[in-house]
Symmetry: C2
Subunit: 363 residues, 2 copies
């Protein structure tokens, strides 16, 4: 979902293939049983990704027999299966998954990251379980109290990274401050922006608005070394020239999902207009190439893949309902974070930002 030529999160297949040739080898573990569709989506996405990215190895984690049947006689070069006997259900409670499913495809994929067999893992499984398991297995980085979920959304100026998107429903000012640092480091590394513009999501741009946590985080951020530009309201996520928008997980999740809802509603209403009668259908045919290009640019699948930031390893969450194209994009994000060395980078930089006199005095 962005204007053509502005992408940096998401590349076309040919762009990826082209740039991929120069990249160092890496290995990514895929939770092949996760999501609404499991291997039906993950296996073909993996095969497509391998074909386009000759420097990448993939490990499919899940039920060996089912995975083999989905693979059929497809070439298995740079592709391994790692058997896991259990699956985490989409509605399973995080604590139950963590205690009772030590051989789930999700857990084993994360274990592979911890053991260094893979440098990242991707799962379309349930977010709560993924976050709890990743946190338990990989642990958080020094200075980071809680990991956050971060994703890019399209905007008039290209795209904006938002965090947290649902991992933390109640956040203190300290948490918001840490999210700002992590988001800034991520964007700096993956988008190559030296000092990303960071804003705090609020219900007004005046100093007097907002709750106590937001006001306190605002004060610290204003005195920090980050390129903090102040408060932003919901519309600013899509209209303002920003790189990172910080909020607690409840607010961020609602903002993201409301946006998805509106986009879908507008798309359906526009389609309905063109289907009203013979004349409008005819006009629709003529406008079709433009509408198709518009739809392609706005395709949310091109933004699939949210990063679990603040962990000692790379974990990317794919949308549960992701199709092959969307899941491929999540793998691409994982790969990008490997090359940018995100956990190490956040670990190195976060201390520098959090160690400012002002923050220490007040926190």
């Amino acid at each position: 979902m962005s204007a053509p030529g502005r992408f940096s999160v998401v590349q076309s297949k040919s762009e990826r293939a082209k740039s991929g040739a120069a990249k160092p080898r890496c290995s990514i573990a895929l939770d092949a049983m996760g999501g609404d569709h499991g291997p039906q989506v993950v296996v073909p996405a993996a095969l497509r990704y391998l074909a386009d990215n000759p420097h990448v190895d993939l490990i499919l984690v899940g039920d060996e027999t089912r995975l083999a049947s989905h693979l059929g006689d497809a070439p298995r070069e740079r592709l391994r299966i790692r058997h896991a006997t259990q699956e985490v259900g989409m509605d399973e409670s995080p604590s139950k998954a963590l205690r009772g499913k030590k051989d789930s495809s999700m857990r084993v994929a994360i274990d592979l990251v911890k053991d260094g067999e893979a440098q990242a893992c991707v799962s379309a499984g349930n977010t709560g379980a993924l976050m709890a398991t990743a946190r338990f297995v990989l642990k958080t980085l020094p200075h980071i109290d809680r990991p956050a979920i971060c994703t890019a959304v399209p905007s008039l100026h290209g795209h904006t990274h938002m965090l947290d998107l649902g991992a933390n429903v109640d956040c203190t000012a300290e948490h918001l401050f840490q999210f700002a640092v992590m988001g800034s480091e991520l964007v700096s590394a993956v988008d190559g922006i030296e000092r990303p513009k960071v804003a705090l999501l609020n219900i007004g741009q005046e100093e007097i608005k907002g709750n106590e946590q937001v006001k306190q985080a605002h004060e610290w951020l204003a005195r920090s070394n980050l390129n903090y530009v102040g408060y932003v309201e919901g519309n600013g996520i899509y209209l303002d020239d920003l790189d990172v928008v910080v909020s607690d997980g409840f607010v961020g999740n609602v903002a993201l999902k409301s946006s998805e809802g509106v986009a879908k509603f507008i798309g359906q209403s526009l389609s309905a207009q063109f289907k009203r009668n013979l004349l409008t259908r005819l006009a629709g045919l003529i406008a079709l190439p433009i509408l198709k290009k518009f739809r392609r640019d706005m395709d949310p699948r091109r933004y699939n893949g949210a990063s679990l930031l603040g962990l000692r390893g790379i974990v990317v969450k794919s949308h549960g309902g992701a199709d092959e194209v969307a899941f491929e994009n999540a793998i691409y994000i994982a790969e990008k974070e490997i090359h940018a060395n995100i956990p190490q980078r956040i670990g190195d930089q976060v201390g520098r930002h959090l160690d400012t006199e002002q923050y220490r005095e007040s926190a």
Copy 2:
């Protein structure tokens, strides 16, 4: 912003004029100095509204001389000017406006409602000052701790009322419960729906998700007499068949403004597609009538006007940047609430819902 024929919040001019004939007389006070444009927008909006609604009297509150000059030689039938010497600034703090501006156009308009000279007032002035002043002058209804801001947004199923939209940044479960009751009563009265479907905004539909306030409100609502349908995620506001969506003011405000941002972003991106080259411009010309109709249906001005619910009087907040059409719509919403007798109705019904054994025991 809705499919044709589904409106009930917003009517066309001719619909209004038609149905207006049978309505009882009423009087509405307008804060003529409020908003980004003041009398420049409010005066022409008032004149248009009077022309279409012969049963309505309007009182323009503000600087007599300036208002007279804006009126020129326009007919003043059913139109009065009420002089007020002060104005509340758009960035003024609520407490300062309340203490220092006792003769502001905003304050006098609300005073007219209290004194019974007007049955409702409309202001495009600053939300915080309007809420604080309205609350101080009119007082809240019995059982209601805090007023909430409520507006309709378009959805696939017609429209959905959302509250709170920013009056209360931190809410307890009791507040959320009261908002649900107020929203349900409003929709029942103005849309004529016997048992409106009420949902609670959350970050997941599972029972385990959400913060403590939301979970507690969910329990009470599930045991209440309301037609409570459970949790809804952000996308459900626009895609699900719901009448009322309840949240705290921070979350509701961010949801609404993010939605506005996405809608604007999509509109601009679509325009850009049609402007790419000569061919796309030609296709755009052919599709123009359809795109125009689409734009008209999606016009946010048709949804302008938010109700301050829970007060002993009717106060409608217009968007600060509203133009004539939008401001007219806010007057229309005020009129609708007068005929539906909203404060009386909420006052009567709210006790019945809040007086359930379950709520009293736990609250």
